[in-house]
């Protein structure tokens, strides 16, 4: 059970387009352990976000199914926390209210008001934004918005955290900072994570395993790379680490030699 906490079982996905059916994913199978951090990496258009959306329940698989803790995923639900690429905070709600909307939905029936407020406060403090809770999204930076998104996803205590290129829209320094932050948060919460990324360093730094996907259409899992670097990981110490460099090289090899994009 613990080894197959999240099961992606022979998932296929075909989109109906004007030019006929388009097969985005061709039979993807993947088991993720509880507490594991798995990254999906591949060139853009390889269907990695499609796969994440299927796990989130926002898309339905054409064939195959998703099992989370042995229960089939039939639609979206708060047992999976999703962090969207572009934060998706509601601009008319403060940071506090954005998180509260999620907390209230999941715990509102069983807990008192004060307990809900406490949960929101804790989630915001986890991402170090306790001081900004009464700010509106347009009043804070892009990195802070993304942190609120993470707080919202974690506040509902999901079984699995789904990250869709969470730092893709941020500048390099902010991205590095948030990656470090995510390492700390995941260490503290022990969350199971599935993350979509196209950033090789990000994948190696954060993951236990990196799933490399072939180019679409009909994308498959190309290779799976176990990142056997000790934790806690530290960006600067790793930069010159021999194993880190080797793993990174292996990923680059896959992406830029084996899966070269034609005339990209």
């Amino acid at each position: 059970m613990a080894d197959k906490f999240l099961q992606i079982d022979k998932v296929r996905r075909v989109f109906e387009t004007k030019k006929g059916p388009f097969c985005a994913l061709e039979e993807i199978s993947l088991d993720i352990r509880a507490g594991e951090f798995v990254s999906l990496i591949g060139h853009s258009g390889c269907g990695k976000s499609t796969l994440l959306n299927i796990v989130a329940g926002l898309l339905e698989p054409t064939d195959g199914h998703i099992l989370l803790a042995n229960r089939e995923v039939t639609g979206p639900g708060p047992d999976r926390g999703v962090v969207f690429q572009n934060h998706s905070l509601l601009p008319w709600l403060t940071c506090f209210e954005n998180v509260h909307l999620a907390v209230e939905r999941v715990f509102g029936a069983t807990e008192r008001k004060a307990a809900l407020t406490e949960r929101v406060q804790r989630a915001l403090e986890l991402v170090q934004l306790g001081h900004a809770k009464h700010k509106y999204p347009h009043e804070i930076s892009g990195g802070m918005k993304q942190r609120v998104g993470i707080a919202r996803a974690l506040s509902i205590e999901p079984k699995v955290l789904l990250l869709d290129e969470p730092f893709g829209a941020l500048d390099a320094l902010t991205r590095a900072h948030l990656q470090d932050e995510l390492i700390r948060i995941i260490a503290a919460t022990g969350s199971t994570v599935l993350m979509v990324t196209h950033d090789v360093d990000e994948a190696v730094l954060l993951s236990d395993r990196v799933v490399m996907m072939t180019n679409g259409p009909a994308a498959r899992i190309g290779e799976i790379l176990a990142i056997d670097l000790p934790r806690p990981r530290e960006r600067l110490a790793l930069a010159g680490h021999r194993r880190y460099v080797a793993l990174r090289a292996e990923l680059l090899e896959f992406l830029y030699r084996k899966q070269m994009r034609e005339a990209a």
Binding site: G57, P78, V82, N86, L90, L101, R105, P137, H138
Partner: protein, 300 residues
């Protein structure tokens, strides 16, 4: 300077008579990089930025009055600004008198017109906004309503007046009904567009959290559509205020539009000009109020 030379390992350049500018202005910055920011070398004396912005409209108004004066002097029966002003002072010194049904102060006339606009427009909001939500949300309804709206929207609202008179058999409800019709379309169309413009991201948040329909409406749909709705309301009020003057000219009774027509029959041109300005100023106030409201509810 010396430090730079050493780092670059080039022979120290022989300073050619150090320029006074460098000594005064640059040296402190180089030698003490962490010194407190220097005061600016000079401050350009210039008028505050708001002055031309205040002056321009005043000049525009003054030119307008001068032009008006010239036109009235050129002959014809157009009263000049000064005689109109004296007449206006008189009219506004007692805006709320009543001497029978056809002779009431300008205040009553404006208020009556505003009341008609308020009722007709309010009814249009009550009908149009929910209709707009439904048309925006359901494709089928939208396709159903599209031909009707497309055909009726360009019709001058006054064309509806005879129908109103026929149905209600009275002038006042007919005028209100015309306001209702002309306010309805912008309200429906803008609300529907707003509903269609809601970013999928927001709806995904709702789906992931499995929010209840009520929460989706109050926390996502309504706030997302509100700015569009306010635009619809603003356009509607603008059109309604335009139309009421014309409608009242036709229906008679009391109201600023009727007042204009009545003063024309009395050949009191000063009063007509006063009415034009009054209508304009009330319209401006309505518009600005709506813009303020829109700003209050716009995000980012």
């Amino acid at each position: 300077m010396g430090a730079v030379s050493v780092l670059n390992a080039v022979p120290k350049p022989i300073p050619l008579a150090p320029a006074p500018v460098e000594a005064d202005a640059l040296r402190p910055a180089v030698d003490q990089p962490k010194a407190a920011p220097e005061p600016p070398l000079y401050v350009r004396a210039r008028a505050p930025a708001w002055l031309p912005r205040l002056l321009a409209p005043l000049i525009g108004l003054a030119l307008f009055v001068v032009l008006w004066e010239l036109l009235s002097k050129a002959g014809g029966q157009l009263p000049g600004p000064l005689s109109t002003w004296h007449s206006a002072v008189e009219v506004f010194s007692n805006p709320f008198y009543r001497k029978g049904p056809n002779d009431q102060g300008i205040g009553w006339n404006v208020l009556t017109s505003l009341a008609r606009v308020g009722i007709g427009f309010g009814a249009a909001a009550v009908v149009g906004i929910p209709l707009g939500f439904m048309i925006g949300r359901f494709r089928f309804l939208s396709d159903m309503a599209a031909p009707i709206i497309s055909i009726l929207k360009p019709v001058s609202p006054l064309a509806w007046l005879p129908i109103g008179l026929m149905v209600f058999k009275a002038a006042n409800p007919a005028a209100i009904y015309v306001i209702f019709i002309c306010s309805l379309w912008p309200m429906i169309v803008n609300t529907a567009v707003g509903v269609r413009q809601i970013p999928q991201d927001y709806l995904n948040v709702a789906r992931v959290l499995k929010l209840s329909e009520w929460k989706v409406f109050t926390k996502i749909l309504f706030p997302a559509v509100l700015p569009y709705m306010i635009t619809g309301v603003r356009l509607s009020i603008g059109v309604a205020w335009l139309v009421i003057v014309a409608a009242e000219m036709l229906t008679g009774g009391i109201g600023i539009g009727f007042w204009v027509w009545d003063e024309w029959n009395n050949l009191n041109v000063q009063h007509i000009i006063i009415a034009i300005f009054t209508v304009g100023i009330v319209g401006l106030v309505l518009e600005q109020t709506m813009i303020l409201l829109a700003r209050r509810f716009s995000y980012e």
